[in-house]
């Protein structure tokens, strides 16, 4: 190849490399409004109201020196679609809204009952969005109000809520689902999502006072059928769900003290491994949930030495039963009350028994609600922390 040809080739390559890139525009940070959270509500007219929580970085810096100003700004706009609502924000916000750092997506209850598929499309399509944002449902409250609530500890309220969601590993009573997982779940056949819930802490609410994050709590889960909200799980039921989904990292399980009636023993989960499986027996699916957990004795009420081999065995059996019962209650609730497969059994059937799946795809919810369930849990007691017997008042 001659030098000229090489030069031309190089120039052509450069031309394409330069022109075929997506991120072309050079923007200054100070021209962007960084959004940390976005919320969706349904207006009475049926439009979508989008709320964006914008950060004021300058104020955050000034706050360190004791400025009383709010370090965020929750601003809303309405539109027929999410995109148009976001564009309508421009009438109020002078800066271009930067969505790549969204940490939290709050979906209002009313909107969720109508179906969420229409609001998530924009964020799925947009190249500049954070697919790792946490998704949460606002129960009995507007997403707009949540995004305007002030935090006691954090400068940015969205960070407060996301870190609460991330800490769910410590209690195992709530669901933390990221946007990308939500999309995956919605696209999987027969699989319905379960999303974390944020709600009022005190049931009697005081409309005169401005809502603060301290009045809210993140607990439980919202049950969906396809993309529509159909009901709720309480915290304990949620734990049954996440045991089966293998999302438990740590948590506290209480059981009776076998040596003293009426007293409780708390065990901390150190490791948990939950698997779900489906077996087809005589044309009927059998749903199998197996939980293998390990943990340690965290607290003991009442007297008695629980560290003898017999007692350990007894405790292990008791706790296994607690977990089993917990999981079974959740499964039965979903089977009979909601008829929604939020565990993902459908994906296993689809993978394992494709022919069968093709037959039952349309009536999967029905089949799920009538299927037999087998729950097996095992608990391994690892230690009793740094003491064996409790102290006794002598």
């Amino acid at each position: 190849m001659s030098n000229w040809k090489k030069m031309i080739l190089l120039m052509v390559t450069c031309f394409f490399v330069i022109n075929l890139t997506a991120c072309w525009d050079n923007r200054d940070l100070t021209e962007m409004g960084i959004a940390t959270a976005v919320g969706f509500d349904q207006t009475e007219g049926g439009d979508i109201e989008v709320t964006v929580q914008l950060v004021k970085p300058g104020v955050i810096k000034a706050k360190a020196q004791g400025s009383p100003e709010e370090s965020f700004w929750g601003v809303s706009a309405t539109g027929q679609t999410v995109f148009s609502a976001l564009r309508n924000l421009v009438t109020t916000v002078n800066r271009e809204i930067f969505l790549a750092h969204i940490e939290l997506m709050v979906i209002g209850e009313e909107l969720a009952r109508d179906g969420i598929i229409d609001v998530i499309d924009f964020f799925e399509r947009e190249h500049e969005s954070n697919r790792r944002a946490s998704v949460i449902i606002a129960r009995g409250i507007k997403a707009r109000e949540i995004l305007a609530a002030k935090s006691e500890l954090e400068n940015i309220p969205a960070m407060h809520i996301t870190s609460t969601l991330e800490n769910n590993t410590a209690v195992a009573k709530m669901v933390n689902i990221q946007f990308i997982d939500l999309i995956k779940c919605l696209n999987a056949p027969g699989y319905s999502p379960a999303i974390g819930v944020i709600q009022h802490r005190k049931r009697e609410d005081n409309p005169a006072e401005k809502l603060k994050i301290k009045d809210l709590e993140v607990e439980g889960a919202a049950v969906f059928k396809k993309d529509q909200l159909i009901g709720w799980l309480d915290p304990v039921e949620t734990r049954g769900l996440i045991f089966a989904r293998d999302q438990v990292q740590t948590g506290i399980i209480n059981t009776d003290n076998p040596l003293e009636r009426g007293k409780k023993v708390s065990c901390e989960v150190v490791r948990s491994n939950g698997t779900i499986d489906v077996e087809l027996k005589q044309g009927k699916p059998l749903l199998i949930i197996e939980v293998k957990a390990e943990g340690r004795l965290g607290e003991q009420q009442g007297k008695g030495d629980l560290t003898t081999p017999e007692m350990i065995k007894k405790l292990e059996e008791d706790i296994s039963k607690v977990i089993e019962k917990n999981v079974l209650t959740t499964v039965e609730l979903l089977q009979h009350k909601y008829k929604s497969d939020i565990f993902g059994f459908s994906t296993i059937v689809h993978r394992k028994y494709l022919d069968y799946w093709n037959q039952v795809e349309d009536q999967w919810d029905q089949i799920f609600s009538q299927a037999d369930v087998k729950v097996k849990a095992s608990w391994k007691m690892r230690s009793s922390a740094i003491i064996k017997q409790p102290s006794q008042a002598k």
């Binding site: 450069c14 490399v17 330069i18 890139t21 991120c23 050079n26 923007r27 200054d28 940070l29 100070t30 962007m32 960084i34 940390t36 950060v55 970085p57 300058g58 955050i60 810096k61 930067f98 790549a100 750092h101 940490e103 500049e128 954070n130």
Partner: protein, 531 residues
């Protein structure tokens, strides 16, 4: 036909050279009459106030006239007095010259009996005599002879051997080269006490007649490399060689590349080590900087101290230097690209910090980075050029300009100052590339502002392509990484223990054994004959 034509042109060229030469053919011969000799010498050194000429008459019965000539200031006057003039004028009276001294034996007597200088040579051409005078030797001419003597009496004011300011070490020899060629060769010879260390002399610069010394170890140097160096040196046609940088520019492989393909050093131990690796050193009179070729890119990351301290620490330091090289090259560009294009990749909390510090800054991040970068370069240049007494003023003002004041005035943001500071500190870690990195850094900042990380990747790829195409005296610049030579990795980023480095660099020394070298030479001779 072509051959005849080319010979004809060569003849014309030579003839032209001959004609323009200062000395005509007849002028090369030393005249046999003292009057003619003196007149011609005085004509050559007309208006040279430092030229000294002494006429001496020797002998009692047969009187022989002599001329001693030298340049004042270039000779050691004690040497001339004691070893040349004193034997001729005083000691000769005590010697019994009467019996056998006459015109015909004067030359022999002078050479064997009288002159006590250790360095005495017979010179048969007038031009050489003139060169000898200019080099600081004294010449002695005897009436009626067609030869003269050249006595080594060089001695002038010179700087002693100091610790070099550019290549400071914690451990290792502290001596550095000086401006005198002979001192420098002696320093090298003291490091390598081996008769195979060859010191070839040649003179370059038509006006300056600068002495150049080619230094190598005969059995280690690759013949092709040595030949290339000789050929390129001989091709130099210039008026002046004032510093080895002049030579570097004439002999380097890629004059249009920002990367240097010739290395230089001020320290005899470094040059000796490079010679021992099979490189050729070029010493130039009048400068302490000695060139070594071929030069690899990896050499810029190495230091002589790596070999004097233990291998673990040396390896760590080399990796740190690589890190410094990367930081000082890409950091400002990377910052610009990140802040101007890829805000979504910056961790959220860091983004908040950067945004907070950028609030209210009137310039774009590119302008800001460029501004600070240029300010730093100006300060650095001022630091090098300024007269010493101004040092304090510069450093105070510099700290203000590049520091708190700039931030408080709202001209720049703190991250940019951090970036500039890190770039500045790391740039001092790799001195051999001090002329290369600022240019690349600037290009990267520019392209980062236009195309973001993509543009930077593009430029870095182009730079790598360019570097892999470079050669230094026939040796690939990126050796031993590209082309990859596993055996030579022992002395790159990791410095193996010295006892594990038992082969010589492959690219410099193709044949480690002398016999093979001999065969190679013979084959080559046969081939050239066939040609």
């Amino acid at each position: 036909m072509l051959r005849k034509l080319s010979r004809f042109f060569q003849y014309l060229k030579l003839k032209h050279l001959n004609d323009t030469n200062n000395y005509q053919e007849e002028e090369r011969i030393i005249p046999d009459s003292i009057e003619v000799f003196k007149e011609r010498l005085e004509r050559v050194f007309y208006d040279c106030s430092d030229f000294s000429l002494r006429e001496i008459t020797l002998g009692d019965e047969t009187r022989v006239q002599l001329i001693v000539a030298f340049i004042d200031g270039l000779v050691d006057k004690n040497l001339v007095n004691n070893d040349v003039l004193r034997p001729l004028m005083i000691d000769s009276r005590e010697a019994d010259l009467a019996t056998h001294f006459n015109q015909s034996t004067a030359l022999k007597t002078l050479k064997n009996d009288l002159l006590t200088t250790c360095d005495l040579q017979e010179v048969k051409s007038f031009k050489q005599l003139v060169t000898a005078i200019l080099a600081g030797d004294s010449i002695i001419y005897i009436d009626g002879e067609r030869v003269g003597f050249k006595a080594g009496t060089r001695g002038w004011e010179r700087r002693g051997i100091d610790e070099p300011q550019t290549e400071a070490v914690v451990r290792g020899p502290r001596e550095g080269f000086s401006e005198t060629l002979r001192t420098n060769t002696a320093l090298l010879r003291r490091k390598i006490k081996n008769h195979k260390l060859k010191l070839e002399m040649l003179t370059l610069g038509e006006q300056t007649n600068t002495d150049i010394c080619l230094c190598y170890i005969k059995d280690l140097v690759h013949r092709d490399i040595l030949e290339t160096v000789r050929r390129r040196l001989k091709r130099i046609k210039t008026d002046a060689i004032l510093e080895s940088g002049y030579i570097e520019e004439f002999i380097e492989d890629a004059p249009f590349s920002v990367f240097p393909t010739v290395a230089n050093s001020e320290k005899p131990d470094i040059v000796a080590a490079k010679i021992l690796e099979g490189r050729v050193a070029i010493l130039c009179d009048g400068t302490p900087f000695v060139l070594t070729v071929p030069h690899f890119f990896i050499e810029t990351l190495l230091s002589s101290e790596d070999y004097y301290s233990r291998p673990f620490f040396s390896s760590l330091v080399r990796i740190l230097r690589l890190l410094a090289l990367i930081l000082t090259t890409v950091l400002p560009g990377f910052y610009v690209a990140m802040v101007a294009f890829h805000q979504d990749v910056i961790p959220f909390k860091l983004l908040l910090t950067i945004t907070a510090s950028r609030e209210g800054i009137p310039f774009s991040v590119f302008t800001e980075t460029l501004l600070m970068g240029v300010t730093y370069e100006l300060l650095r240049e001022a630091g090098v050029r300024m007269p010493r007494p101004f040092g304090q003023a510069i450093s105070i003002v510099g700290a203000l300009v590049l520091g708190q004041a700039a931030v408080e005035a709202g001209i720049t943001s703190t991250p940019v100052i951090m970036v500039t500071a890190i770039t500045a500190i790391t740039s001092f870690i790799i001195p051999p590339l001090k002329g290369t990195l600022p240019i690349i850094r600037l290009i990267l900042i520019l392209v980062a502002n236009i195309l973001g990380l993509l543009g930077m990747a593009l430029i870095i790829i182009i730079i790598f392509i360019h570097m892999s195409g470079l050669r230094s005296f026939g040796v690939p610049y990126l050796a031993p990484f590209s082309p990859f030579t596993g055996a030579d990795l022992k002395d790159t980023l990791l410095r193996y223990p010295l006892w594990a480095m038992w082969t010589r660099p492959r690219f410099l020394i193709k044949n480690n054994r002398n016999i093979e070298d001999e065969q190679y030479r013979m084959k080559k001779d046969i081939r050239t004959k066939e040609d």
